[in-house]
């Protein structure tokens, strides 16, 4: 296990102004979501491919990780951005009241931990549409604390808060002074659930290097450190889009030896997380939405 100080943080928020978000929500109350998909496919995604730095990152992802040809990588980047647009539109569609078909694999894993008095950690990733999990994996007993990007737009935060208002859920924004880490720890010691992404730097710059899809990549050390610090149980939750109107949620246990040294615990837990993430991304390569250079550059 390697630890390092890196500077791979990425500030990403939902595209558009508050007016645009509110207009989209109103439109989606009346219009079939596929009409918006078609509009975006023709008029928005091609422009995004030209102006967005994320497009270059995803192109590299298909070239380096998937070893696609130049032409195939361009097509794959378009497809990735098109699905990502659909996921964003779906998010607004849900806020407007539209329903999606959701299947859940491993719900019993969540319920087993939910029924225990101790807090537990739920690790997510920038794959598919994780927010959908929040509407379906809700706890009856424990407060759910989700670590979110602090720079997100007001409309997005307001609608999230409105949708989750009756679900005993709290959004914890990542802060520059990293006070969010203490809030997460306090939540866990109070027997609550803490959800955080483990594939992007938020706050601390310490990382753990793992072989991911055949190449070394840096994962943030923080989530694994917080989880193992007091020996909490950990699950991985990933949500992928499987049809235009359907999502699949997968919940798995991430086991680690709680009697081992802390360093070994972090190594085991991060390994379990990365292997699960790899399984999901191998099956849904076009739903990798981590728009920053994630893999280490090859040594010259």
């Amino acid at each position: 296990m390697a630890e390092a100080n890196t500077n791979t943080s990425w500030a990403g928020d939902t595209f558009g102004t508050t007016w645009m978000h509110e207009t989209l929500i109103k439109m989606l109350r009346w219009i079939d979501v596929r009409i918006i998909y078609a509009f975006v496919a023709v008029f928005v995604v091609p422009v995004t491919l030209i102006v967005s730095p994320g497009a270059r990152v995803i192109y590299h992802y298909f070239r380096r990780v998937w070893k696609f040809s130049v032409l195939k990588s361009v097509g794959a980047t378009y497809r990735n951005h098109y699905i990502f647009s659909q996921v964003i539109i779906d998010r607004f569609a849900i806020w407007s009241g539209k329903k999606y078909n959701i299947s859940v694999e491993g719900e019993e894993v969540f319920q087993r931990l939910d029924s225990q008095p101790e807090g537990f950690v739920q690790l997510s990733a920038h794959v598919g549409n994780y927010e959908v999990a929040g509407y379906h994996l809700s706890s009856k007993l424990k407060r759910f604390n989700a670590l979110v990007f602090s720079g997100e737009k007001a409309t997005v935060m307001e609608n999230r808060n409105r949708m989750f208002a009756d679900r005993n859920m709290r959004m914890i924004s990542s802060c520059v002074d990293m006070s969010h880490i203490f809030e997460l720890d306090n939540a866990l010691t109070s027997g609550e659930i803490v959800s955080m992404p483990a594939d992007r730097m938020l706050g601390s710059t310490k990382s753990v290097t793992k072989e991911f899809l055949g190449l070394p990549a840096k994962f943030p050390l923080g989530p694994f450190n917080i989880a193992t610090m007091r020996g909490y149980n950990v699950i991985a939750v990933n949500v992928v889009k499987v049809k235009w109107n359907a999502y699949a949620i997968r919940v798995v246990d991430l086991p680690y030896d709680k009697e081992a040294s802390r360093r070994e615990q972090v190594a085991q837990l991060s390994e379990a997380y990365v292997r699960e993430l790899e399984r999901v991304v191998r099956k849904y390569p076009y739903q990798w939405f981590n728009f920053h250079e994630f893999w280490e550059e090859p040594k010259a």
Binding site: M178, S179, F182, G203, S204, K206, N225, M229
Partner: protein, 85 residues
Amino acid sequence: MVNEELINELKGHIINALHLEDITPDDIENDAPLFGDGLGLDSIDALELIVMLEKKYGIRIANPAEGKSIFKSVNSIAEYVDSHK
């Protein structure tokens, strides 16, 4: 004024808790800042120190603002431990 024994004990615990293999207790000055320019620790490390204080001394710090002044240096941690033992 806290005793040298406690300070040395704390330095050992800090090195173990944060896996600072390349550092010996003598490398850590009693008044040097632990975060930022000093040992270069961050909040994840602060959380490790909070857990260390709980495990070794039975002291719980729940307020992150309080943590900032406590974890300023080895001396400030020692003073806090000494007054809460």
